[in-house]
Symmetry: C2
Subunit: 350 residues, 2 copies
DNA sequence: GAAAATAGCTTAAACGTTAAAGTAATTTCA
DNA sequence: TGAAATTACTTTAACGTTTAAGCTATTTTC
């Protein structure tokens, strides 16, 4: 059985003082004589005392903890986000509770309630479905949070929300432009979940770019793959088997791109000779020799860093009631041209 | 400013009852009339009440939370571990707090204290340096925890600790045997941190296998790369530039193997023709077409699943004081033969 | 119809900590 | 020298919940 925890009272008893004095001593606060102070500290050390952060949280309404909601950590994009968020948060003395939400709206809601219940001081949310109700209640409660890579359209709250996103529209637009200039006009797009603003906007950019260039794609070319590897794999396999297949695929994240790549290569399709491939995110794998996926990535400073900084600022100022404008940051993207888009094969042809 | 939270007392006031009644109603416990019960629930709903889990934790000494210590989540091996642990834990109603420890013993200690302070009910530790003091104090406090992929040698506590590990010795032994049978006797080994039991044991297996086969490796062939990509990259580059280089490299994790691969390929070395390469872990990337890293992996059921199950069992029974033998599980490994070890090139030659 | 049981609620205490206010002894300094 | 200030501590209450025990009025039992 777990041994009984040593509390401040146990120390007090041994030291012959009151719990308050122990608290003062251990927290290094004035109002106590040097001798008593040292005695208390020694006893605490001796008894191997560890403060109960739960009790402390309860009384000062702080937890020194941030919540982070993501899709799932085994996706390298999010893993990297977690890492960055944690390291920036740590510099300000915050711990991070990570929750995997798995495209499950109900799970997201439960996790948000759990985090609020655990008194996290703020949240970074990178998982939210764009019309999520629960976000609204966070806004109404004036709970500090920042959306990352997601935005909310709900007009009643949209301009009260802090977010850090990439310019998905432009990225989508330029993706198509890039492929178009490489000579493609039969371009398939594997979209992420269209419940997420990031993917909606990329898709809008894609459509606008196509429209501007007079491309009217086969509707079967725009496939919602929900950021799922399996779905992307299947979609690519179906595409390549069409009687009149596309000549390029733009996958809205690198995971899907790599899965499509597997499908194509296994089907004997050469990349980029037979099919150009363009991803999004520039996860680490994409740069490996033999993979060399052409892709698009956010420019620095990272969404992770920015969002934590905004969040902490938000928390710090959440006492004051001067209304502050929400920070809504849109990061630009940049192309990382490697081998799979075919640029190095033939360059731009138009 | 964050709005004031609705508490049980607020509900009580509105309902004209006492806090106790509210608690009874919301927790669905007997001792209340149906009408009052319904009224209270309605009001709670109305006020958008969310229980304060901190207060609840304080009183029932439970947090419904497990701690998980890993090196860092952006390493796919650990990301996968996190994912598995979380999903198994969730099935039993536990949340998971993940802490990245980054090879930093002090950080590990602080994280452990934080987790204990936050009253996690148990921990899964996959980060610990084999001689870590802090583990000892967990043992002394009879705090429930399970080591994953790590074991502790300290004889005073070694047989009181629960762990789930892979048979590193055998894996290391067989790695060398495999390469040897493929014709190699100049084999370099990129080890993980030798502060971790997992790597120590792999290395012992390696040495034994070499010894048994009369191989006395150039000491410059055994390189501690600390599971670092950069170090593995540099090590591989140095190896290939030697006047009498090895003909095979065994990297003790796939990350290092892939980094070594980069170095070799960039240096014009063909894999496996000029240099065979064998990894460990079988992370997802390793199977991608064009990578096809030969590697070694744990057999199912996964360490993650087993460890959570053991931990939860431990927690459940931590009230009873019948002493239970610690569970110490050693998983076998299996080879995943792909292209980089050269098996498919020439098969075993001895 | 009196004793016993029950239903429906309340009171009080507890979890481990911190904050605010209070008290007694000591020091300061005009 | 004596009022004011300071020091070194203690007392009390609070954070939001749960729980054991208590109370009262009603119902059941035989």
């Amino acid at each position: 059985m777990t041994k009984k925890k040593v509390t401040i009272k146990d120390i007090a008893k041994v030291a012959g003082v009151t719990a308050t004095s122990v608290s003062l001593a251990l927290n290094n606060r004035p109002g106590l004589g040097l001798k008593t102070r040292q005695k208390i500290i020694a006893i605490a050390e001796e008894l191997n005392y560890r403060p109960d952060l739960v009790a402390r949280s309860l009384i000062n309404r702080k937890s020194q903890t941030l919540g982070l909601l993501i899709k799932n950590v085994s996706d390298p994009f999010f893993a990297h986000l977690v890492d960055d968020v944690e390291s920036v948060a740590k510099d300000s003395g915050y711990n991070v509770m990570v929750c995997n939400v798995h495209n499950n709206r109900d799970l997201e809601k439960r996790h948000i309630e759990m985090l609020v219940g655990k008194r996290v001081e703020g949240m970074i949310i990178s998982s939210v479905n764009f019309d999520a109700r629960h976000i609204r209640s966070l806004v109404e409660d004036e709970f500090p949070f920042v959306l990352v890579n997601r935005r909310v359209y709900d007009p009643e709250i949209a301009n009260r929300i802090n977010h850090v996103i990439v310019d998905g529209f432009e990225a989508g637009y330029q993706a198509i432009e890039h492929l178009y200039r490489l000579g493609h006009d039969r371009i398939a797009v594997l979209t992420g979940t269209l419940k997420s603003s990031a993917n909606i906007e990329k898709t809008n950019g894609v459509k606008k770019a196509m429209h501007d260039r007079g491309i009217f794609p086969d509707p079967r070319f725009i496939i919602e793959c929900n950021n799922s590897k399996r779905e992307a794999y299947n979609a690519a396999r179906n595409l390549m088997r069409m009687e009149n297949p596309p000549t390029a695929i733009f996958a809205q994240d690198d995971n899907m791109a790599l899965s499509a790549r597997e499908a194509l290569l296994q089907g004997g399709i050469r990349i980029p000779e037979d099919m150009a491939l363009l991803g999004f995110d520039d996860i680490e794998v994409s740069s490996l020799t033999g993979i060399e996926l052409s892709t698009i990535r956010e420019k620095k400073p990272s969404m992770a860093r920015l969002s934590v900084e905004i969040l902490i600022d938000l928390i710090k100022n959440s006492g004051s009631n001067k209304p502050r404008l929400p920070k809504q940051i849109v990061l630009k993207t940049e192309h990382v041209i490697r081998k799979t888009c075919g640029f190095y094969l033939k360059g731009y042809v138009r």
